[in-house]
């Protein structure tokens, strides 16, 4: 990713896939892993050998993923940025593009353009504890940050993941849980909104209630938060009540994204282009811009 500056001083990211950010580039599905009844993780690599080797992204960024003739959708990258030549998208089949994706299997070709967007502050957070808080599909982008932090484990203090889903059936990355939780000073706390008849012996309740049982320190932690907007709203209230400062809370926002390069206007959150100024924001940047029809 190369960075430039606009006249107004905003950082910009340039798509690695093509000088024309609209051009979808062919990527091949190498592997598909079922995460839940409606969500799968696809391992992809670019067809073009030079791009396959050269493509790099940072945790928190997304690609526009899709099919010429159907469309594309902004999907966060869910894999470790340190793994080169392949990358992963965890996709829930809910719309036109993602339903088409659900019909694809190994060897099939999909279109990619990216990576786009502002990443998680994994560099800034070095030396701090990491508190990752995920709700639902928000776990996908946080998995990328978590994998990076675990690979560079010595650079961080305690790593805590609070992760909630609606029901046990909705939990993603269950195959990764053991690998994550055996790491030194790494805590994984799960919750579901309701057990829904499944065999579940863990915590039941919305994500912010996990803060009551987690041992986390507001002074030494950097918070990375992603989930439905209402979940993030209540989590931030709970965090601030416990003394977490808005400068140390980072969140990944969801808005409708069509272009990825701050030129189509769909993703505006007040003056912010969520596609490029975000999706990851420092919470203090969003003061007064949230939840008011902005």
């Amino acid at each position: 990713m190369t960075r430039g500056l606009t006249s107004a001083g905003r950082p910009e990211s340039r798509a690695a896939t093509s000088a024309d950010p609209w051009l979808l580039v062919e990527a091949v599905i190498r592997d598909v892993r079922e995460e839940s009844y409606d969500t799968r993780t696809y391992t992809l690599s670019f067809k073009d050998p030079a791009l396959k080797e050269g493509y790099a992204f940072r945790a928190g960024q997304y690609n526009m993923l899709g099919f010429p003739g159907i469309g594309d959708a902004a999907i966060s990258i869910s894999s470790d940025p340190g793994v080169r030549t392949t990358f992963q998208h965890t996709v829930r089949a809910v719309g036109g593009v993602t339903m088409a994706m659900a019909r694809m299997g190994p060897g099939d070709v999909v279109g990619i353009r990216g990576p786009f967007g502002n990443p998680w502050p994994v560099e800034e957070a070095r030396g701090s504890d990491l508190l990752l808080i995920a709700g639902g599909n928000g776990m996908a982008t946080l998995r990328s940050a978590l994998e990076e932090a675990l690979r560079r484990r010595g650079e961080y203090g305690e790593v805590t993941l609070l992760y909630g889903a609606r029901t046990p059936r909705d939990l993603l990355f269950t195959a990764d849980f053991d690998r994550w939780s055996v790491q030194r000073d790494t805590n994984l706390l799960l919750t579901v909104d309701r057990a829904d008849g499944e065999p579940w012996t863990g915590h039941v309740g919305v994500v912010p209630t996990l803060l009551d049982v987690a041992r986390v320190s507001p002074e030494t932690s950097v918070v990375l938060l992603c989930g439905p907007e209402v979940m993030m709203e209540f989590t931030i209230i709970a965090l601030e009540k416990r003394g977490f400062r808005s400068e140390r809370i980072f969140l990944s926002m969801e808005r409708r994204m069509r272009c990825g390069v701050a030129q189509c206007g769909h993703c505006f959150l007040g003056p912010k282009f969520v596609c490029q100024d975000g999706p990851v924001f420092r919470y203090s940047q969003l003061n007064g811009l949230w939840g008011k029809g902005v």
Partner: protein, 378 residues
């Protein structure tokens, strides 16, 4: 005024005087290497439209328009001024960022897909007769589509080499407020040639080397100081004759702090969400993409089309709409134009052309809205 039959070629000077009857010479020169776009009169639309022209005779001259919020009429004038009318609904946006544009075509094959980008237009545009607000509007659009890392290849293909021949404003309309926005009535930048219409001649000034080269080939004589002074007077006199003013002092901050101002509620029952304002605005750039595929599911095309933040589905995600209420959509547009834009690009997203007032079916006046939020007179 005494005029010599013989003309003097201007080589050094950046200002010349061109008799009005010699205006076709300028158009012919521009046509040598450009696709000329100029204001024309549309009998069907009964308004001025910017169109590609093939002959200087197609340029609308001698018309007088009358504009006010929600109102536009036009008729032939007394014949004294060629360009005595203000903007019609079209701006150069229509050519640089067309309402429908193919981003790529291609096809699926057994191994995947291949895509290609449509060829660039053959000839660069020459915009003749646009107003200073519109030439500034092009510079505003540039900031969206020609940014360092994300140059839009399609915009660049249309913008590159475009020649801009502005006509300064001496006859502003009732909806004009370019003087408030600092974009007119005299073009100060972003032009190759700027013309000022006087009683019998145009003062023609060049702003670039390309403009000077065209000026040097015109049957124009050197401008004397009396003519420079006359053109200057006509432009200065246009300022107090503009129908609107807008106080821009601290405006971005005032609007941002005024997001909960009760006046936004007025819009709930006023704005009809028709999207006209965003269509006629010379700087509104919002767009959507539409993918098309043939019946064999092989050949594909992706088009970029204008979209509008007033459309209900504009920001909608899986049934969740961050700006579900019309008052929020109006507020977003207004605060973007006059507030957020400055944070994003360092300039206002409004150039004071007045189009959104005229073409609003219910006559909403952005200058009045801004004044209400400011809490005083404009």
């Amino acid at each position: 005024m005494v005029r010599s039959k013989s003309t003097i070629l201007i080589r050094e000077s950046r200002a010349g005087v061109l008799p009005k009857q010699d205006l076709p010479a300028l158009i012919t020169l521009l046509q040598e290497s450009h696709e000329v776009v100029a204001p024309t009169y549309s009998p069907e639309g009964r308004c001025i439209l910017l169109e590609r022209i093939t002959s200087p005779r197609q340029i609308a001259t001698g018309y007088r328009d009358h504009q006010r919020p929600g109102h536009y009429t036009i008729q032939k004038g007394d014949g004294e001024l060629l360009f005595g009318y203000a903007n019609g609904p079209h701006s150069p946006k229509r050519f640089l960022h067309p309402g429908r544009l193919t981003l790529f075509t291609g096809e699926w094959n057994d191994r995947g897909f291949s895509l290609s980008v449509p060829p660039k237009p053959d000839r660069p545009y020459a915009f003749f007769g646009i107003r200073p607000c519109d030439s500034f509007g092009i510079q505003v659009l540039d900031r969206t589509f020609l940014r360092v890392a994300n140059v839009d290849v399609h915009y660049r293909a249309r913008r590159a080499g475009a020649f801009i021949a502005v006509v300064n404003c001496t006859e502003p309309s009732e909806v004009c407020f370019c003087a408030s926005m600092g974009t007119g009535p005299r073009a100060e930048s972003g032009y190759d040639l700027r013309l000022t219409e006087m009683a019998e001649d145009f003062l023609v000034e060049s702003g670039t080397g390309r403009g000077a080269a065209v000026l040097a080939r015109l049957p124009a004589r050197a401008a004397a100081s009396v003519q420079l002074a006359e053109a200057d007077r006509l432009i200065r006199e246009a300022v107090p004759r503009m129908g609107r003013t807008l106080n821009t002092r601290n405006l971005p901050k005032i609007l941002r702090q005024g997001l909960e101002h009760p006046h936004w509620d007025v819009m709930k029952d006023w704005c009809v969400g028709c999207t006209n304002c965003t269509i006629v605005c010379p700087t509104c750039f919002c767009n959507d993409v539409q993918d098309h595929v043939d019946l064999e599911l092989r050949r594909v095309r992706r088009d970029r089309v204008w979209d509008s933040c007033f459309a209900l589905q504009f920001a909608e995600m899986r049934g969740v709409n961050p700006r579900e209420e019309l008052k929020h959509r109006y507020r977003h547009w207004c605060v973007h134009k006059l507030g957020y834009w400055v944070e994003q690009y360092g300039v206002f997203g409004c150039v004071g052309c007045g189009r959104c007032l005229t073409w609003c079916p219910v006559g909403i006046d952005i200058t009045q809205v801004a004044a209400e939020i400011r809490g005083g007179r404009p």
